[in-house]
Symmetry: C2
Subunit: 457 residues, 2 copies
């Protein structure tokens, strides 16, 4: 099909919605290293994980061989309220840049959570409900995951307790109110409500909080309450699995119009959006059927792939979660209070870490003010005000499109626009007022955190 | 087509996007009364209007006979970035209510302005640009129109000066930042920057501001600056014309699936969303081809249709705009600071006023806390957090669906979901905290304002 005929937005019909998630681990010859029990340093058993996570999610977490996993009807029903999401041809951005590149983005922001997080939230809430649980606990950074989970829990009438990273809780009071509107309880983290929170506050009374710390609190709140389990919005392999709905829709839409991306770009905090977007493309790459350049974009202030080490580490500050082999800055690393709360995690998905280590994908880091410059440019021509997190991908997509302008290459660039920035207006105000700074951790700072890694082979 | 096959969301293809707006006045036997020059009390001439509005928009404002007006290619190009908007079957709401009614809503919130306002903003910015103007001035209540206009002006590289109703400026600081991100300047109204603003502040130093007052300031700022014109987000017939894209898409989508609404519901502030949604259906009604029950929903705190008078009145507090025959509470009426800023206008579209007077549509008023109760119920089952304005329509749609539950009638209900409430979290917080009040003006208060009408036959 000729490019003249490609609409601004490609919407699949509901019939074309994926009926199964794709488990990319099934096509990986070398699998991610197993999760370890922090007490025994042996691979965790399903029984051990079941104290923290819902049974069905434990199964998904540990399943490395089943390539396709059915999406239950109830989840499909919820997906249909906001999916399929549009694949957008960025005609206006291409024109503004004067690039011969063809730019596409998969837009996940058209739902009240404002991001892709809802794709996994509804799955996790469903399995919790199915297991007969009372409720779930979780952490949230920017608030997108917490909002998504609140919506999902409200839909299935489950209790929802959210620990929100303190700096986001303060910077983003409106997200808190969205969560409350959907019936969730929200606590700033670190808090005095958990043992691990009290311990951290004693050591670092002025901390901004971090995802790692909020995770520890949420896990403690789940394991110390009957009828509750902990759910997580990123990093875990089960989350990447659910997020493959993004990539599967994208692939179907592109195939329909005979489009093949040369470069696929996504921002990477814990890795769920990127992992979900690239999954079916990576599958082809792993099976030797096609090749794609895949780029993870992370903030220069929290550069786990580009400056971290590939080693076993704790997923949380409190060291209660299983150990995971991943690219990490050290679970004690406290990222600066940058405005992309969703990208302030010290580690990275085990799947993406292994793929990166196998050189099947690249990574770049970008600085905050350059990211907001790209965000504003994008908003003014494409109409959508992007989330700071998503804008990392925009920045790199623009950079690649400008390279094409220099070389004259008509490359096809695909990036994930994970969400909207409607709840990030303090960040935009700082940018509008010229008051935004950049922070790049020093080698010494990074070394100090990774020196404390548990050193497991 | 059987109802089993109706998807959750009906998306038209870009090819099915309307190529023309529909001018409902062409099918009205009795037309709306002409606009009058406030100085001469004679019908305004195109020349007089051209001092305030762009030339092409003056033509559209005064055109009562052309049924279809072409949508320029440049506007269609912009529309394609966020349109066609989805027509949603509210399966989950139906289930939650246990009603045999079939509920549909046309959702206009999937764009950064968060509402339908963008449909007219882009048209008005386009005509201003085409005329070679430097910029435009406007007022905004809730901030949705200002945001929409900022986006449109940024797209066409036009200056944008926004006067924002003071109570909204203070309650919704984030909207201000969205407008600034798109390059607009934003001033709280009443302000000291205009003669009319200074005069109002002198008389009412503690005023919350009102749309009528902000309009006066924006008009003054336009007419006292070369290269500027004033643009308005509602009330005017040209705005209703642009908004017919909502109704035309809805009609096409419904026809495609063989759906015929029994009841059509929309919130009404100035009337542009309702006018746009009902236009093609009203056209059929006017031509005797079909019948529909059409309901305008307004806040009990600002009840122009249900408790106002049908008479000539000023559109603005400063009395600089043309006089319009409409249902009005009096241009001096100062509505309470309710949370639906977009519905705090003293008057109503001349077209809708005339249709209401001819009993071709009904009107009801609803109270604020009941509206937020409906909004929360809707959000929890349909996933979308609605704007307070739109929630007025939700409230009445739910009421009608519950009547069907009592009678067992399987009526088809269509309502306009004009926007999202992401920038209305203070209002939701007040509701969540049980601190929301209701305000219904007394007969004396209303009489006091309408006694000051200009009394023109």
């Amino acid at each position: 099909m000729s490019n003249e005929k490609i609409p601004y937005k490609i919407y699949l019909s509901e019939d074309e919605l994926p009926k199964q998630w794709y488990n990319v681990r099934a096509d990986m010859k070398k699998k991610p290293a197993p999760l370890l029990n922090p007490a025994t340093l042996k691979p965790v058993t399903p029984e051990e994980l079941s104290a923290v996570f819902c049974d069905e999610l434990v199964k998904q977490e540990l399943d490395e061989t089943t390539p396709y996993i059915d999406i239950p009807e109830e989840i499909l029903g919820f997906y249909k309220m906001y999916r399929p999401s549009p694949l957008v041809r960025a005609y206006c951005l291409e024109k503004a840049l004067g690039t011969p590149a063809k730019i596409y983005y998969k837009f996940e922001g058209n739902n009240t959570s404002g991001s892709h997080k809802l794709n996994s939230a509804i799955a996790q809430a469903y399995y919790a409900k199915k297991q007969g649980l009372t409720g779930v606990t979780t952490e949230t950074g920017a608030g997108q995951w917490g909002t998504a989970l609140s919506m999902a829990c409200s839909y299935f009438d489950l209790d929802c307790k959210v620990y929100m990273v303190k700096v986001s809780y303060e910077q983003k009071p409106f997200r808190r109110e969205v969560m409350r509107t959907y019936g969730a309880s929200v606590t700033p983290s670190p808090s005095m409500t958990t043992e691990v929170g009290r311990k951290i506050l004693e050591e670092f009374p002025d901390t901004n909080g971090s995802l790692g710390c909020a995770i520890s609190e949420a896990v403690e709140a789940a394991t110390s309450n009957d009828g509750y389990r902990y759910v997580l919005g990123s990093v875990l392999s089960q989350v990447l699995l659910h997020q493959t709905v993004i990539g599967l829709e994208t692939k179907t839409a592109m195939d329909k119009y005979g489009i093949k991306p040369d470069i696929i770009i996504g921002c990477a905090g814990g890795g769920s959006n990127l992992g979900g977007l690239i999954a079916p493309f990576m599958g082809e790459k792993l099976r030797g059927e096609a090749d794609y350049r895949i780029i993870a974009v992370e903030p220069a202030s929290c550069p786990s792939l580009t400056r971290g080490v590939y080693a076993y580490d704790f997923c949380d500050t409190g060291k209660v979660c299983p150990l995971q082999k991943m690219y990490t800055l050290g679970s004690g690393f406290m990222p600066s209070a940058n405005h992309a709360g969703g990208l302030r995690y010290h580690g990275m998905s085990a799947i993406l870490s292994e793929l990166y280590d196998q050189k099947l994908m690249e990574a770049v880091s970008v600085e905050q003010t350059a990211v907001f410059e790209a965000a504003q440019k994008f908003a003014r021509v494409e109409g959508i005000l992007p989330a700071p997190e998503s804008s990392h991908a925009i920045k790199t997509a623009i950079d690649e499109a400008l390279k094409c302008k220099e070389t004259g290459e008509e490359k096809t660039i695909l990036f994930g626009l994970t969400g909207t920035g409607y709840f990030d207006m303090y960040a935009y105000a700082a940018y509008n007022d010229g008051k935004m700074g950049d922070y790049i951790p020093s080698d010494e700072e990074l070394k100090k955190a990774t020196d404390k890694l548990p050193h497991i082979d």
